[in-house]
């Protein structure tokens, strides 16, 4: 007779276990197997040993796509933190229409990424975009927001910041509201000004929130895809080709499934390494 008490826990975890096996373990395992093969979906898989890995280290476009992604992160993360913290600090004060402002800043987060991207594409247009019309109206020349290889990635980073900042404002607001008011009262008694209070009390106290925001922004930034896919297609001159976009292109445009899996695996390790380094640094500071 089978002990029902012993079976029950397995039964209870089985839905998740089945889901995990089907949608996580099997795809990951299959991807690892794929990295040693050449496969275009329609023809049988062909074992190629380490060819995909050798190709990866000689693929200039992939290396460029990683450096593009890092450039994006270097612009996006500090910008995101500064803007979100600044706005959260303001929205944490007793200002008029505070609720409306909080809602307004959060609105882009719930709007579809595709819609936001198309909207910004119109804003960034060289000849017809609103930004350039404004600039030429005040006597400044046009800027190739998406057509100049030197600034296209920065333009995308600004757009991504606008899109996501609402979420981080909420996180910072939560962080700010957990700072005990006694610290500020004590600082007031000591005659500290607003900036001193911010840098000496607020920032250290919300360090865990900053850590979380950095981690979330990093992971979000590494998965940069929709924006360059729609706005620039990775151009001009591959300047906005993100790593994920390149992997997608290899997989679902060229159908180089084995190579795409290799790139994906390699990129996953890069993300893991970067997050671990960040964790170490921030924990050390803390």
């Amino acid at each position: 007779m089978i002990n029902k008490k012993k079976i029950l826990p397995y039964l209870l975890v089985s839905p998740y276990l089945v889901h995990f096996m089907l949608f996580v373990a099997f795809p990951v395992g299959f991807s690892i197997v794929l990295t040693f093969h050449k496969w275009n979906i329609i023809s049988p898989m062909e074992f190629t040993g380490l060819n995909n890995y050798i190709r990866l280290f000689n693929d200039k476009t992939f290396i460029r796509s990683i450096s593009n992604t890092l450039i994006f992160l270097v612009i996006h993360i500090p910008l995101q933190i500064i803007v979100a913290l600044f706005l959260a600090e303001i929205l944490n004060q007793k200002i008029k229409l505070r609720g409306a402002f909080r809602g307004a800043f959060f609105l882009p987060v719930i709007v579809s990424g595709v819609v936001v991207t198309i909207l910004w594409q119109q804003l960034y247009g060289y000849d017809t975009g609103l930004l350039n019309r404004l600039l030429t109206g005040i006597g400044i020349g046009k800027i190739g927001w998406l057509t100049d290889p030197n600034i296209a990635m920065a333009s995308i980073a600004v757009m991504a910041t606008w899109k996501n900042v609402g979420l981080y404002i909420v996180l910072f607001l939560v962080g700010l509201q957990t700072v005990p008011t006694q610290y500020y009262e004590a600082a007031d008694l000591e005659g500290a000004n607003h900036l001193q209070k911010f840098f000496r009390i607020t920032l250290p106290m919300i360090n865990p929130t900053i850590f979380m925001v950095v981690i979330l922004s990093t992971i979000g930034g590494f998965s940069l895809f929709i924006e360059p896919y729609i706005m620039t297609g990775g151009g001009p001159l591959n300047s906005t080709m993100s790593a994920v976009l390149y992997i997608y292109k290899q997989g679902f445009f060229y159908y180089h499934m084995g190579y795409a899996a290799t790139l994906g695996l390699f990129f996953a390790f890069i993300i893991l390494a970067v997050v671990m380094i960040q964790k170490k640094f921030i924990e050390k500071d803390h």
């Binding site: 329609i42 119109q122 000849d127 017809t128 057509t147 297609g233 001009p236 591959n238």
Partner: protein, 430 residues
Amino acid sequence: MKYLFNIIIVVLLSYVLISCSSNNKDSRNALLYWCSNNTDEIKFAKINTDEWNKNNPNDQVKYQPVPEGRSSEEIILAAVVGKTTPDIYSNMWQGDVEAYAQAGVLVALDTLKGFLDFLYERCDSVVIEEIKSLDGHIYQIPWKINPIMLIYNINFINDLELTSPPKIYSEFFDASKKFQKDFDGDGYIDRWFGYSEVEVTWWQRFFDFYPLYLAASGGAPLVKNNQVAFNNEYAIEVFSFLQEMYKKNYFSKEKLSARQDVFLAGVTATRFTGPWEIAHAEKFKPKGFEYEYTFMPVPDGHQGPVYTYGDPKNIVIFKTCKYPQSAWNYIKTMIDRESDLKLLEITNQLPRRKNLSSDTFFNDYFTNNPKMKIFADQSVYVKGTDASPVLKEIFDLISQQYEACVVYGEKTPEEAINDAADAVNLLFLE
């Protein structure tokens, strides 16, 4: 009791299995034909299949528009992977055929009875050579083309006091210089002579580099037998021409397609496009707007006919088809002279058959549609794509160099073509 219950179960299961099997037999008899999902082609498919089914009650064909998806190419790929391909598919881009042929999912049509005789009667031998796969077999039936030509605004050409639209590069530069204008005096051009998408997407080169290359080279291949063939003076001349057009601001670098039709709005005087533009222009052109088509521009001193890209869409039979000979018999009725006339009348797309513009059978159509006659005349000098399983990658690699050289001027045309050729050669080595 238990024994009886088991017998009932077995009988029921057997009945279900037999029923399924007999249903399958019925459905196998009806060939499944996927047509394009545009309204005109669905209409064409319906007329053809209705007629066929009426005359062939024992050999029925069921037509169905290719299922909706982001692109028909992706749907076909998904069907191949899932082994749910139709028996016949009529909108196959010629450039995709080689990969499918090498994957072994297409029927070698030259093994079917009567195929070659029919094909040689319908098509030029040059076309037949073009569609042959690298293994020497034929896996596709040339069906229709939409040649890329230069559309131009007649009023603008008259305003420039030109007797005809520019035919060679130097004439193109002169006309572009005269036409270019900054209306509001802000130092930026508001009117360009031509327009081509600056996007790096591989198929955008079907509307600029590739037809211009074919025009300049007299229809030379890009690749031949897995060897680069485009590293020549023609490709360099085309890159130089287009680079100059962008450098001098004769073409806009802006993505103008995001707004209203720039050609009909008079923002550009010309454009490289196909016959599909006619229906669009007739519907949306402003009052007094006059336009015409002409050949693609060629380098100064060009001799011989002006070729262009025909954007061919062909018919294939998948290996999942149980009755390829029946499928071929049906296809023959789809591409005979009568059906080709129907194709013209219903879809305004050109059948890829020899002597199209001189065959009196089509006279009435071309008399009533004079702009289509220009395309029919061009159809003699049309090329499709070369046989290669990595054609998309080749176009993508050329497109990347196109962007670097033509649009951004980062490389000389010679460097760009050499780099593209090196990259394609590496592709062949893999």
